[in-house]
């Protein structure tokens, strides 16, 4: 009995400590922009890169003057650990916070898709930076916007390059069985079949696994001239390394999930040399309007990955919608967003079509040379 009451006392103390901590210290009234992406786990390099882009946008906007009179804009960053279930949980958390007026988020299409339904129900502006699965914007959610190109362009662009520039005639397609990976590999296979390229097989691997040598051994016996991988960089790096160790002569190509400098480090420069990667836009270093962003990003966070520019762009557009709404009100922000046309961003001038997708539809193509990504060309 005595032990029990002591336990209650302890719980009471802890609880009151929480309440006291919550009660003291008056905070400036704030509006928040939600951010969600993988901040821990194997894809955290890309997630943190995105987070830094969003942070920079908020910081610059606050420095330039008040966005909503009387309020300070803050970023509410959430970690979805690239898990769809976790993505829905953090989406609900953001939706339940009345200070959050808009969300920039989710890296993986498999996270963005279920989370978008939560934001839709909350009638909250949702701007997606890099989830390229085309199905997401076809759900009829009027609160959904996206600032990158989609995989129904990326797959065919990769196939065109493989066929015309690399002379690929026999391809083997691997994906990671996620919404993004399977969607992109299907687009690539569709384009390949239409273009008369022979598809020797299409197989899925599981994210988080490390040993792909059985699959690669089988691919080697089929002797394709190109291996296409639709997935993310941790698995992509292992595939490249194991391809080198098994001495497979086929060329290697992948989608934007591989466009991350860590890929080359994990795969080693030797194994990554000469692989081709398609990306959701042109070379950021060649866009004059992005020069200022690249400078301040690299000064603050060091080397820039591929996705920071997209979340920076998405966050800036969200801030612009809040500024135009002029009130702490989700409906007003959504209405103001509808009025944003010809927005001069760092990636180009954005307008949004009926589905909420940006009208900038560029796909870039890179290769790896001497341990660095090298821009080759872009569509449009």
């Amino acid at each position: 009995m005595i032990r029990k009451s002591r336990g209650f006392l302890l719980v009471g103390f802890v609880l009151s400590a929480f309440f006291l901590a919550g009660g003291c210290g008056k905070r400036e009234p704030a509006v928040k922009i939600g951010f969600a992406g993988p901040l821990t786990g194997d894809q955290a390099a890309q997630g943190l890169d995105m987070l830094h882009g969003a942070e920079l946008a908020v910081e610059e906007a606050n420095a330039a003057g008040p966005i909503l009179p009387g309020y300070k804009v803050e970023l509410a960053a959430m970690d979805d650990s690239r898990s769809p279930a976790q993505a829905v949980t953090v989406a609900k958390k953001l939706a339940a916070d009345p200070d959050v007026l808009a969300v920039v988020g989710h890296l993986n299409s498999s996270c963005t898709k279920p989370a978008s339904a939560v934001y839709h129900e909350a009638k909250m502006l949702h701007i997606n930076p890099v989830s390229s699965n085309p199905e997401i914007s076809r759900q009829g959610f009027e609160n959904f916007y996206r600032v990158c190109s989609t995989d129904d362009l990326q797959g065919p662009a990769g196939e065109q390059f493989a066929m015309q520039r690399l002379g690929a005639k026999r391809v083997f397609v691997i994906d990671d069985m996620t919404t993004y990976g399977r969607g992109l590999s299907n687009e690539f296979v569709k384009a390949a079949k239409a273009g008369g390229v022979q598809v020797l097989g299409q197989e899925g691997i599981t994210q988080g696994e490390k040993d792909f040598s059985p699959l690669l051994t089988k691919i080697k016996s089929l002797a394709p001239d190109l291996i296409y991988f639709a997935g993310m960089y941790p698995e992509g790096a292992l595939l490249m390394r194991q391809r080198m160790e098994l001495n497979i002569p086929a060329k290697f190509m992948g989608g934007d999930g591989l466009f991350e400098p860590t890929l080359i480090q994990l795969a080693t420069a030797q194994a990554a040399d000469g692989v081709y990667i398609t990306t959701l836009g042109g070379d950021i270093h060649q866009v004059p309007s992005a020069a200022g962003f690249v400078r301040s990003y690299e000064a603050k966070y060091g080397h820039m990955g591929a996705y920071a520019a997209y979340s920076y762009e998405a966050t800036r557009i969200a801030i612009e919608a809040i500024r135009r709404a002029g009130a702490k009100d989700r409906q007003a922000v959504l209405a103001a967003m509808k009025g944003i046309k010809q927005y001069p961003g760092i990636l180009g001038v954005h307008s949004f079509d009926a589905r909420g997708d940006t009208t900038i539809r560029t796909i870039g193509i890179y290769t790896v040379r001497d341990g660095k990504f090298q821009f080759l060309e872009s569509t449009n």
Binding site: K210, L238, E245
Partner: protein, 304 residues
Amino acid sequence: MSAGDLFLQQVINGLTIGSVYALIALGYTMVYGIIQLINFAHGEVFMVGAYLGLAAILGFGVSHSAAGSVALLLVVLALAAGGCSFLGLMIERVAYRPLRRAPKLSVLITAIGVSFFLQNAVMLSFGPLDRYIPPILPVVRWGNGSVGVTLMQVIIFAVSVSLMVGLQLVIYATPMGRAMRATAQDPLAARLMGISVDKVIAVTFAIGSALAGVGGVLFGLYYSTINFHDGYLTGLKAFTAAVLGGIGNIPGAMVGGLVLGLLEGLSAGYFSTQWKNVVTFLILVLVLLFRPRGLLGERVAERV
């Protein structure tokens, strides 16, 4: 590439990963044999081993001479084995020994708690990103254009097999081994015979964790990337290997690991990768249907 070459290459692939599974499976099976606990934190010990290996390699730096590389490999393996056996001892002392008389379920839940603790401790100390392990040995490949085996694969196989042989010697030819076997058969009787059961259990944890540590370093060097939740999937596979071979049975864990690696390699090679786990676990279910105690059965006498 002929059908024979393809098969041979798949067997080489399967045996490599299978011997890592076997090393980890030994820890599961030894602990189960002695205290009937499925130590779910064991996969995390393996992961800590990989990180200790990384820390050691970063600390010593990569050597460029052949003798230096071999010495570095041995030092790194020894450090990881030592560090992990200390970790295993600590886990046993802090988390499991106080619960020796508690219901089995409490200990199992504690094991899962220890597993979360280790994952998050490693994430906080080494960061959430994938870490790259620099190769300490040159990439050497023997074979022709179609079939080949790499130096790293040979090392993994050789180190694993010699450790397993060493473990058999310890268990069947030393007084401590005899005490372990006695404790596995009947802890109470063993205690009456003057065996310090607590000490035997501690030694079991230390040996099992050291093997997992070595497995972690080999795994990290082979795949060259590690992450703080690598222990989960690999630990699960190794646990499966232990069950497949017959949990509690030491030769069973070795056989189970190699068989599981081969099954994975062959099912990925001849069916498809996305069906790999389905085929592998289907075979596991079939084996357990016909041999409920695993391939080699549980040799420990059933208590009445």
